[in-house]
């Protein structure tokens, strides 16, 4: 690089990149704004959860807090709430990940074009990081602005550690967003031409595999610890390991379900494509075969929620049986409503998680329609009935999800039974648990169906005009 170019590069710097990122976002089409908007919402959710956790963690001893049905008053149950909130972060991240995919193809092309026009890899990475980071900053700022007055209203003299936590969360969310934004572009940055003809990785990412192995090891470790001593009798260790074991197991079952979905989608696609008798099944099967991991990625969070939800129903049954025994034997420390309150709150959290996951699924399906709009319009122009394309779209979600949700359900039930057998004196069979995967499956189909109106609009011949 010449001296002049060097100077120019230095002076343009971050300020120039902010301007460029802003110009690119401003000039982009509606879908980019959807991404920004939904990212702000997701970041606000993540920051909100993080803020509550940050405030709860440094809290010590007995308090009287107006919210949370008494669960936040005591050290022990507070720990449980923190774990539940942490678990709730997973679907929020899933939602954020799905949002990042809106208009991803177009954004990748745009940034690759920037690279072709001579932008340095760091510059492109910085622009991408800024795009996501600024949206996350907006969300985190909004969440913080709401949370701080609420906190001050509830807690008159908060711990300095809580303040530190709040600042850390408010800054961490946009930083993490920016990092993810930059990371997701590593292929664009590596090759400015490579992404224009986008090739998908042939399997799950190495990162994902590594994370699964790590999870497996930690789950083994925790489970071993459970069997070596009875963790539920050790006051401190039990508190930490019990929920952690459940957390790790849930993640592990979820990860296996993703691997299974990816693998099963591919096989299912191949088998169905060879045998399909009608057009909708053929189209759906061939799309699965072409990119089985797209389905797996979209469904990862769904499967996690299925595992947690099914497991929870089992745990709830066992827990209630225990409470009932305690009530009869008058060994309960608190009123029955105190315990059921906790269960209801957890159920609500899982409900929120399910809603988030379904939103992510709907966004993912809509994105898959939007990316293919020209081809779809051409199909309609050629006389392929809209109903066939609509059925193919639903089948694409329904087919791979069926075995995966089944496995996730069985895994969740296993967790529930395991918990029940570990705590209860007599085994309570959670009859309601199988209903959870069924309900999740139904909701997923409904979420996918929300893209049908978009599909109908996409099939408009005006879309033929866009190359």
């Amino acid at each position: 690089m010449s001296d002049a170019a060097n100077t120019r590069a230095r002076t343009s710097g971050v300020g120039g990149d902010v301007r460029l990122a802003w110009l690119l976002t401003k000039g982009s089409d509606r879908r980019e704004w959807w991404r920004v908007g939904l990212t702000v919402v997701g970041a606000a959710g993540a920051a909100g959860l993080g803020l509550v956790i940050a405030v709860l963690v440094p809290m010590n001893g007995q308090h009287h807090i107006g919210v949370g049905g008494g669960l936040l008053d005591e050290q022990g149950t507070r720990g449980g709430v923190v774990v539940a909130l942490t678990l709730l972060l997973i679907p929020v991240f899933g939602f954020l990940g799905q949002c990042a995919r809106i208009g991803a193809v177009h954004r990748d092309r745009r940034l690759a074009a920037l690279r072709l026009a001579g932008a340095a890899p760091t510059q492109v990475r910085r622009i991408a990081a800024l795009e996501t980071g600024l949206a996350c900053l907006a969300g985190s700022a909004a969440a913080t602005a709401v949370s701080v007055p609420v906190l001050l209203g509830l807690w008159h003299d908060p711990d300095p550690l809580a303040w530190a936590g709040i600042v850390a969360v408010a800054l961490l969310v946009p930083a993490a967003g920016a990092a993810v934004g930059a990371l997701s572009l590593r292929r664009v940055v590596a090759s400015p031409l490579g992404v224009v003809r986008r090739t998908r990785p042939a399997g799950p990412g190495r990162l994902f595999l590594a994370a699964t192995v790590l999870l497996g090891v930690s789950a083994l470790f925790v489970t071993a610890a459970v069997f070596v001593g009875d963790p539920f009798s050790l006051p401190l260790f039990g508190l930490a390991v019990g929920p952690l074991a459940v957390f790790a197991l849930c993640l592990l079952v979820g990860a296996s379900a993703v691997l299974l979905t990816g693998w099963a989608s591919g096989r299912l696609g191949e088998v169905l494509a060879a045998r399909a008798r009608n057009a909708a099944v053929l189209i759906a099967a061939e799309r699965l075969r072409a990119d089985p991991w797209a389905a797996a990625r979209t469904h990862a969070a769904v499967l996690l929620v299925t595992v947690v939800g099914t497991g929870f129903v089992g745990v709830r049954e066992a827990f209630l049986a225990e409470v009932e025994t305690g009530r009869r034997e008058h060994t309960l420390g608190m009123s029955v409503s105190y315990y059921t309150n906790g269960l209801d709150l957890t159920a609500a959290a899982i409900g929120v998680a399910l809603a988030l996951v379904l939103a992510a699924l709907a966004v993912g399906t809509a994105e898959s329609v939007a990316t293919r709009r020209r081809g779809l319009a051409a199909q309609t122009a050629a006389g392929v009935p809209r109903a066939v394309l609509g059925r193919a779209l639903l089948l694409e979600t329904a087919l791979p999800l069926l075995p995966a949700v089944a496995v996730a359900g069985v895994g969740g039930m296993g967790i529930g039974l395991w918990y029940g057998s570990a705590t209860a004196h007599h085994l309570a069979v959670p009859y309601a648990a199988p209903l959870v995967p069924l309900a999740v499956y139904g909701c997923c189909l409904l979420a996918a169906a929300t893209s049908l109106p978009l599909l109908r609009r996409t099939l408009h011949p005006a879309e033929l005009r866009y190359a």
């Binding site: 008798r277 061939e286 081809g375 319009a377 006389g383 005006a462």
Partner: protein, 231 residues
């Protein structure tokens, strides 16, 4: 041809107008297409060629004017019937996009037959014959992304013709091809149309492609500028 000899044209449009937002793509275009005829529509980019094709093929409804196909007013038919017509009586070929990227060439060609109720096996057998006819039988198991542009377009032609349509609408079918592939595609189209008596409406900006047609009309700013007819 159809002009002045009293025969009823297979497809006729009168005074078509169509606006996209504030841009007027068609401003009173009229055109007639005789049975078995191959008509080329030429004109500069933005002269309204594609919009004319969309109106004639019942893909979009004109703002004003009429489109009559075999005695039926296309501009008044409900969408369901139009979709049916496009499936049974019309075939379309675009510059690209009409093949489903995930399906093999054979399945892509078999698809219209399956939609019409033919069993998969029979559909694939007939699709194979059509691929053979267009010289891409050997590429039957490839997906559109794995074929050359010319092979993909010949597959698209096979898909458009496999149901035995009365009219094929081709919008810049050779727009993305080199001259040799373009020649192969056009020769395939011309031969097949002649053998099967299929009527063809061909949109192109390339005079060498237009020369395959029996007749040419030129669009300028949404109206038909002039017509040259082969004696």
């Amino acid at each position: 041809m159809n002009n002045g000899d009293g025969k009823v044209p297979l497809l006729a449009a009168r005074g078509l107008t169509k606006a996209h937002g504030r841009t007027e793509a068609l401003r009173g275009a009229s055109v007639e297409l005789g049975a078995g005829e191959m008509l080329a529509v030429t004109g500069a980019s933005g002269s309204g060629k594609s919009t004319l094709l969309h109106c004639l093929a019942g893909i979009v409804r004109p703002d004003a004017g009429s489109v009559t196909y075999a005695g039926e007013r296309l501009d008044r038919l409900p969408e369901r019937r139009l979709s049916e017509l496009r499936r049974s009586d019309f075939g379309v070929v675009f510059q690209f996009g009409q093949l489903i990227p995930e399906l093999t060439a054979l399945d892509n060609v078999a698809l219209p037959l399956m939609l019409a109720g033919t069993s998969r096996g029979d559909a694939r057998a007939r699709a194979g014959e059509w691929l053979e006819r267009f010289g891409v039988r050997g590429q039957g198991d490839l997906r559109p992304g794995e074929m050359s542009g010319g092979q993909a377009q010949r597959t698209a032609l096979a898909r458009a013709l496999v149901t035995g349509p009365r009219i094929v609408f081709a919008d810049e079918p050779t727009g993305a091809l080199d001259s040799l592939s373009s020649e192969q595609v056009m020769t395939s189209l011309t031969h097949t149309a002649r053998e099967t008596g299929t009527t063809v409406l061909l949109i192109t900006h390339d005079a060498q492609v237009a020369a395959y047609a029996d007749r040419e009309i030129r669009l300028t700013d949404g109206v038909v500028a002039g017509a040259g007819v082969t004696a």
